[in-house]
């Protein structure tokens, strides 16, 4: 059978991080982020490959505070057992188990799926073996403390380096494929 017929949608996880692996400072500040045309064009290419964004409740609330509630042009799902209804029509609140929901999404037709934010959602998706690719934009800064990429996990996950690109602003964009998880 042709490979493309059975290939599932990829789930990608990542974002901009400090060298010590924080997504944001303790107060959610991301003032240390460097943005320029080079990053812009990488992100533009990335957005072409996805049509769905999933995020945890905390990431959603941080985004709401800053006024950017939903990513335009894609389906936005927010996992929460406490939120009843999205206050923004661009996002849908999902109360069922995140791993189960993402597993179902992967079996549906569509473009790739992006996991936004880190923390608990990323960990539960990693532990359910649902994340296929990872991309980090490693910034030349140490934050010392903050919001971690994902919470501690109990098992090791081996990766395959797909790409490594050094940007002129001192950031390094690395992408990995998840090989397998060792339990």
């Amino acid at each position: 059978m042709a490979r493309y017929l059975i290939e599932m949608r990829k789930v990608t996880f990542g974002g901009a991080n400090s060298l010590d692996n924080f997504f944001a400072r303790k107060d959610d500040a991301v003032d240390w982020l460097l943005w320029d045309k080079e990053v812009g064009s990488i992100m533009k290419e990335f957005w072409k490959t996805i049509d769905t964004v999933v995020m945890g409740r905390r990431t959603y609330e941080v985004a709401m505070k800053s006024g950017s509630v939903a990513y335009p042009g894609v389906k936005n799902y927010v996992f929460s057992r406490t939120l009843k209804k999205s206050s923004h029509k661009g996002s849908e609140i999902i109360s069922e188990d995140a791993a189960e929901f993402v597993r179902k999404l992967k079996n549906q037709k569509g473009k790739d799926i992006c996991v936004m934010g880190g923390g608990l959602l990323a960990r539960s998706l990693f532990e359910a073996n649902l994340i296929d690719e990872i991309g980090f934009n490693i910034h030349p800064v140490l934050l010392g403390s903050g919001i971690p990429l994902f919470h501690e996990m109990t098992h090791q996950i081996d990766l395959e380096l797909l790409g490594c690109k050094t940007l002129s602003n001192g950031c390094i964009v690395v992408t990995y494929r998840v090989k397998e998880s060792k339990r």
Binding site: S66, V141, L143, E160
Partner: protein, 199 residues
């Protein structure tokens, strides 16, 4: 005279740990198909190694043979400890004086560069004392899930300057940074305030 630099030369997991919580580095036993990642070239540029006491203890457990903690008799080893009962011998000198004093004295002596071996606590203390010059980090393509972070967590903002990066065919990524001293902070970070939030 060339200024001696203190350089962190280390491997981390892709999730930023230098060891498992118990100090185990079994995940470093990763098929090394790309040679020594510049290790022998780096080793020629140093003549001194700085150790945190826990890292030193773990390294003793590896049972390295030969003088100077297995790095040869020409290498001077300093081990940082808060315990006074340790005794110096031909292999290493135990240090418990303030980092600033120790580092300035070391830098005043002529010599090659200085290898900061780690772990995370001593790296954090040297960083916060303003006594680290460079990081050379090798990212191993694996998430170990939990462990000892590269730099002991503490509230800080340290801008770095990327000097070079290299991806090896086996997936290890080497990154070389210099630490921006406060007197030449990058303009991208000088206007930082804690109250700024996500845009």
């Amino acid at each position: 005279m060339k200024q001696r630099k203190i350089i962190v030369y280390i491997a981390t997991s892709a999730d930023g740990y230098i060891a498992r919580l118990d100090g185990n580095v079994d995940w470093l036993n990763y098929p090394r198909t790309a040679g020594d990642y510049g290790m022998s070239a780096f080793f020629k540029t140093i003549d001194t190694i700085l150790w945190g006491r826990k890292t030193y203890d773990i390294s003793l457990g590896f049972g390295k043979k030969g003088g100077g903690m297995g790095y040869g008799a020409k290498i001077k080893n300093y081990v940082f400890t808060r315990h006074a009962e340790k005794f110096d011998d031909s292999d290493q000198v135990f240090v418990n004086e303030p980092i600033k004093d120790f580092a300035s004295r070391l830098r005043e002596q002529p010599g090659k560069d200085i290898w900061m071996m780690g772990g995370g606590e001593i790296i954090g203390s040297f960083l916060d004392a303003g006594e680290l010059d460079e990081f050379i980090i090798h990212i191993i393509p694996t998430f170990i899930g939990e462990g000892i972070p590269l730099v002991c967590p503490r509230h800080r903002l340290v801008p770095l300057k990327l000097l070079s990066s290299h991806a090896y065919p086996d997936g290890v990524v080497r990154m070389h940074y210099s630490i921006e001293r406060s007197d030449k902070l990058s303009t991208d970070y000088t206007d930082y305030t804690d109250s700024k939030t996500r845009k």
